[in-house]
Each structure stands twice: as structure tokens, then as C-alpha cells.
């Protein structure tokens, strides 16, 4: 299961690494096996954290490597190889969630860049001013208790995001990957990434708030 987007993104990233790609699949496989030796555990932890399933994580790692081999990638620096592989893995995980129809649960959420964001619907009035002020999370209270509560909500909410949002949140927020590298990994422009990050953060914030309020919508 290798989609064209991944191939194209992978080839583009391999090209960005500024090196010559191997001409044959066996030669590419040797290169990718070396990268797997180096970055396999990182790929595994990433896939496990996202999918929470050993079986699916193994499948994601395998499909990531197959896509990388077919893209004939070869790298001059290990950090760019890691970025590249994580980007392919992010696509594969998104494919998995799409296949399991998680995306359908968010049919109201925008999927394509350039669409009007649906995740802040109801937050603002027609003039763009607050129609519903964000709830008070009690951030001034007991630090450790509040932190644990928000952390718990955050863990649950990241799993609820549609794949197009969770992949940017995982790479940028959770992994702290520089914005430029996320763009390369996912084949996004800086503007697309910025827009997608904003939507994703909005969705995450709204989900955490709802969770902290016991599932009730804020007044």
C-alpha cells in the first residue's frame, strides 16, 4: 500500500537531501536497511504512540520502508533521513486511520488546505469577535493537579483528531520538529503548515476544554 503522495513526497525529500539515489531497488534496499538499523526504534515508537497497536505499528514501519525503497532514497545526513522516514510514516499512519474511517467522524472538519476552518465555528461572531470566550481551565490553581488533568485530556484528544491534523501536531508539537522539516516531510508549503497547525491547535484546545468540562460545551 504505497500511495502516490508518499512516493512523491519521499522522492522530493530524497532530492532535497542533495544526494544521488541508487538506480536499482536492491541497492536502494541496502541503503534503507542501514537507515532502518539506525532509525527503526524511532519509527517504531512513533508508530506505537500513534496507533497503540503492535500489529499496526509493525505494518506502518514495514510500509514506510517499502515506500522509502521505492522512492530510491539516499541521504547525506542522518537527521534528514530521520525526518524523511518520519514524514513517510506519518502518511502511512494517516492512511491507516483513513482506512479505519476515523476521519469520517470529523466530517465537519476541513480536510483540504484553503478551506474555511470549521473547528472554530461558534467561537466567533460574524465580525470575528469572541462569541464564546474560552473556558477557565483553572490554570492559576494547584499546578501539579491541573497539569495532570490537562495532560490526560491532551493524550486522549490527540487520538481524536483527524489524521490530517494529528500528523502535524505529532511532528511539530510533540516531536518539536522544526517547521521547515515538517514542511519537507509532509510536502507542505510554510503557509499550508501554518494554517493546518492553527486548525489542529484549535481542534485540540476545544477538545481539551470539552474534556475538562466533563464533555459539556462551554457557555
Amino acid at each position: 500500500m504505497v500511495d502516490e503522495n508518499v512516493e512523491s513526497s519521499a522522492e522530493q525529500s530524497a532530492g532535497d537531501a542533495g544526494s544521488v539515489a541508487p538506480r536499482t531497488l536492491p541497492a536502494a534496499r541496502v541503503v534503507i536497511e542501514r537507515l532502518f538499523e539506525e532509525h527503526g526504534d524511532v519509527l517504531w515508537r512513533f508508530a506505537m504512540a500513534r496507533t497503540r497497536s503492535r500489529e499496526v505499528a509493525e505494518e506502518v514501519v514495514q510500509e514506510t520502508l517499502v515506500a522509502a525503497i521505492r522512492a530510491h532514497g539516499q541521504f547525506s545526513g542522518l537527521s534528514s533521513a530521520r525526518t524523511w522516514l518520519l514524514g513517510i510514516a506519518a502518511h502511512k499512519i494517516s492512511d491507516h486511520f483513513r482506512a479505519t474511517r476515523r476521519e469520517a467522524r470529523f466530517s465537519g472538519a476541513p480536510q483540504a488546505d484553503g478551506e474555511e476552518s470549521g473547528v472554530d465555528r461558534g467561537m466567533f461572531d460574524e465580525a470575528g469577535m469572541w462569541a464564546r470566550i474560552p473556558g477557565d481551565w483553572g490554570l492559576g490553581g494547584e499546578e501539579s493537579a491541573e497539569r495532570a488533568e490537562v495532560l490526560g485530556a491532551l493524550r486522549a484528544c490527540i487520538e481524536e483528531l483527524p489524521p490530517s491534523m494529528s500528523e502535524v501536531i505529532w511532528l511539530r508539537e510533540f516531536q518539536g520538529m522544526p517547521a521547515e522539516e515538517v514542511c519537507k516531510a509532509l510536502g507542505l508549503t510554510a503557509t499550508n503548515l501554518w494554517t493546518r497547525m492553527h486548525r489542529a491547535r484549535n481542534a485540540l484546545r476545544a477538545c481539551v476544554e470539552k474534556s475538562l468540562r466533563g464533555g459539556k460545551d462551554s457557555a
Binding site: F124, D136, R147, W194, H198, R201, N202, L204
Partner: protein, 92 residues
Amino acid sequence: MIGFISEVVRVLRLPCREHTLLFSKQLDEPLSRATALGLRIHIVYCRGCSRYRRQLRRLHELARSLGTQLDSGEPMPDAARERVLRRIREDS
């Protein structure tokens, strides 16, 4: 100086929806000093934006603390690693 003040005033006049975009962008890249100052002034009197910004930053910080686990933690099991290697060799 005039350009600086114009930018501060422009930011102050933006609707809050636009401010939330800038708060998010600020987590990814530094804003100009004038834009950042406009936002800082705005949150002094806007409760909605002040809370939104604080919550966004808190989530950002907590996500980072959760996300440092890729370099440590459970490695890929040897059996899984071998299965993957065997399959990709068969595939290519």
C-alpha cells in the same frame, strides 16, 4: 518608527479571530516586534484572547513534555524487526 506604530495599530484593530491565528503562528516562528507588541497590548484588555493564548501555550508546553519519548522507551522488538526485514527483502 511610523511603520512600527502603524503595525501595532493594525494588529490592535484586527478581530480576535485573526489574533488567534497570530498566537498560533507565534509558536512556530517569531513575529515582528511591532506585531508582538500589538498582541501583548491586546491581551491586557481582551479576556478571550488572553485565555486562548495561555491555553495554547500550555498545550504546546505539555505536548513537548509528552513528545520527548521517541529517543527513549521501548525499542522495536527483535522479532518484529526481523519480520519487517524479511518482508521488505521479499518485496524488493
